[in-house]
């Protein structure tokens, strides 16, 4: 599928030329693959099976014998009553809520910024850099910064609000529901430049002649967007949408650093709960089982999304 057509013929000729095409030459490609393959088996293939094994035992870090319990830890996640059931689904819903709120914002804002910067304008390079720049900060720097911005008493957001409207400060970080605002705003600030860059690349591929023709026919900028830009960007939009949604489901650092998952676990992400269960509560097997179940959900989600993408891309092009 990806081979160049002339390759087989060339290759046959080469093989004929070389009389040393013995066992050593035949082993050659495999020697190149070997170092990566070894590490791939140790750190990717093996851990998947090992995780399943851990999840089916009652893992005790202090003991050398681990007792087999079968699917108990997996079943716990589907039988109401255990704390694992309650917190797993609760934090999963938190994460889903974050995804539902943040993804449309991240896609729309990225497209908006890209459209603003599509045509040449004074300072374009500067603006691109400003919108992209927050993305190079680590999640902890970004988190500490936004916790300070939304500080209950003296954060910049409350200060600006008071200066403009005289309203008293809002306790963002300690109010259920409102605590999502700093997390979502911070995440948009942090990652929108990445998607903007993807959109800018896609926009540069739209032929200018289409806009010129449309302008000659008297199409308004709004009509041009609706009938030219938006349909031509559809594959890119779907790609950005899917990758952003998958990234949002991996929410961890933002809520950990900004709100520590609070108040009352209302912003705790599912990954934060899994790590808490495993590394703080020492419930290794339970955490392994949850990791597996959550991973499986992500896998189905990804497969469905990419199936959708393949269909849509085929439909538009």
């Amino acid at each position: 599928m990806t081979d160049h057509a002339p390759q087989p013929a060339r290759h046959a000729a080469r093989r004929g030329d070389a009389p040393r095409a013995g066992a050593a030459a035949r082993a050659e490609p495999y020697l190149y693959l070997l170092p990566h393959a070894l590490l791939f088996f140790v750190f990717t293939v093996y851990p998947v099976g090992y995780g399943l094994y851990i999840g089916m035992h009652r893992w005790d870090l202090l003991s050398s014998v681990q007792s087999f319990v079968g699917l108990e830890f997996f079943r716990n996640l589907f039988v109401p009553g255990t704390p694992q059931f309650d917190f797993f689904w609760r934090t999963l819903l938190n994460t889903a809520l974050f995804t539902v709120v943040s993804v449309p914002l991240l896609v729309a804002a990225a497209l908006g910024l890209a459209l603003l910067l599509q045509r040449p304008i004074f300072g374009r390079t500067f603006f691109r850099a400003v919108f992209f720049l927050p993305g190079v900060l680590t999640v902890s720097v970004m988190g500490i910064l936004w916790r300070w911005m939304f500080d209950n008493q003296i954060g910049l957001v409350n200060a600006a609000r008071e200066a403009l409207t005289g309203a008293p400060p809002i306790p963002w970080l300690s109010t259920e529901g409102l605590a999502w605002v700093p997390i979502v705003v911070g995440t948009v600030w942090w990652t929108v430049g990445f998607n903007m860059t993807l959109y800018l690349a896609a926009l540069s591929n739209v032929p200018a002649s289409l806009y010129e023709a449309a302008a000659l026919d008297g199409a308004t900028p709004g009509q041009q967007f609706r009938h030219i830009t938006w349909p031509l960007l559809a594959p890119q939009t779907l790609f950005v949408f899917i990758t952003t949604a998958l990234a949002s489901f991996q929410l961890f650092g933002q809520s950990l650093v900004i709100t520590a998952g609070g108040p009352n676990r209302s912003t705790q992400s599912v990954i934060q709960y899994i790590t808490e269960e495993g590394f703080t509560n020492n419930q290794i097997s339970s955490a392994a089982a949850m990791g597996f179940v959550f991973g499986l959900m992500m896998l189905i989600f990804t497969a469905a999304q990419f199936g959708l993408m393949a269909r849509d891309v085929k439909g538009t092009s």
Binding site: H4, E28, P29, Y30, Y32, L33, P35, H36, A37, L39, F40, F43, T44, Y46, P47, V48, Y50, G51, W59, L116, I121, G123, F126, F127, R128, V130, F132, L133, P134, V136, L137, T138, V139, S140, V141, G143, I144, L145, W146, W148, M149, Q153, L156, A163, T197, L198, A201, Q236, Q250, F252, I271, T275, G278, I284, A288, G291, F294, G295, L299, A303
Partner: protein
């Protein structure tokens, strides 16, 4: 001479009315961009501004929009604090990210080479097998890999931060696609001169693939540098921490000392900003090429 010259006056005359019409239309777009840029820079301004204030000035109400009595005390205290060492964390991050990047790029390049340019049984099967691992979410291997680190005795060591991710697969895919586009004639000529395949890989394939190699290296470095979850649990020894984790423990200790907190986040942001300024072109170019692959 006159025939090719005639269209010129017409072509020159045409764009003339444009500047007059374009100017007013560009202004609102420019102003909007300025407002958005100001919003994006506000948190960074507030970080710098707070880091230069004394603790009393940082929390005074009404707020000080500008540091009235700027001081570098916060930076001095943060850099000499007994609770952690920002320079040490930066060094750890640098060693880990550089080692990881070199190993990762080398391994990916070695693997991508036969996958792109040799024919052998099982080639495509292996390629699709490792590629399919991209579908496995990281959370699945988190706990088992952690237990493996415990068994290897790698907790609190650079090994735990470097090895588990080195055999990543996206880089193999990226380099294989690029290697395939290199003309075969160059390789054939070197072969006639008696060059071994390893020499061809090192002297021809890698140099010609520099854009892809640099893109991969930038991504690998950024990924390792910004990694947070994994080092948070595999390194608990303060001296072995990387910058993102160290700075978080710092912030838990100084949770109400905003001046120090902002001085430490500023210091933690500096290496990333410098790296961005150096790698800016590669970063955005890399993003646009990898993102657009259909």
């Amino acid at each position: 001479m006159s025939a090719p010259g005639t269209p010129v006056p017409g072509a020159q005359a045409r764009p003339r009315p444009r500047p007059r019409r374009r100017f007013p239309r560009e202004v609102p777009r420019f102003l909007l961009l300025c407002v958005l840029a100001a919003l994006f820079l506000a948190p960074v301004y507030w970080m710098l501004s707070t880091s230069l204030k004394s603790e009393a000035d940082a929390i005074v109400s009404p707020v000080q929009w500008w540091p009235l009595h700027p001081t570098l005390d916060n930076y001095r205290e943060v850099l000499t604090s007994p609770d952690g060492n920002i320079l040490r964390w930066t060094w750890n991050s640098l060693v880990v990210a550089l080692t990881f990047t070199v190993l990762h790029v080398l391994l990916c390049a070695l693997t991508a080479y036969p996958l792109a340019r040799m024919r052998f049984p099982g080639r495509d099967t292996w390629f699709w097998f490792i590629l399919s691992s991209l579908m496995i979410p990281g959370i699945v291997t988190l706990v088992p890999t952690y237990i493996m680190m415990l068994n290897f005795g790698w907790i609190n060591s650079y090994h735990a931060l470097i090895w588990p991710g080195v055999s990543g697969v996206f880089g193999v895919f990226l380099l294989r696609q690029f290697f395939q586009g290199i003309p075969r004639e160059l390789e054939e000529a070197a072969k006639l001169d008696g060059a071994s395949s390893l020499l061809i890989w090192w002297r021809i394939i890698l140099p010609l693939s520099l854009p892809a190699v640099v893109t991969l290296a930038v991504f690998a470095f950024m990924g390792s540098w910004n990694n947070f979850l994994w080092p948070l649990y595999t390194v608990t020894d303060v001296d072995k921490m990387t910058l993102p984790v160290g700075i978080t423990t710092f912030s838990q200790r100084y949770v109400t000392e905003y001046g120090k907190l902002m001085a430490s986040t500023t210091l933690a942001a500096v290496p990333a900003l410098i790296a961005y300024l150096i790698a800016q072109r590669f970063l955005e170019a890399g993003l646009s090429t990898t993102g657009l692959k259909e």
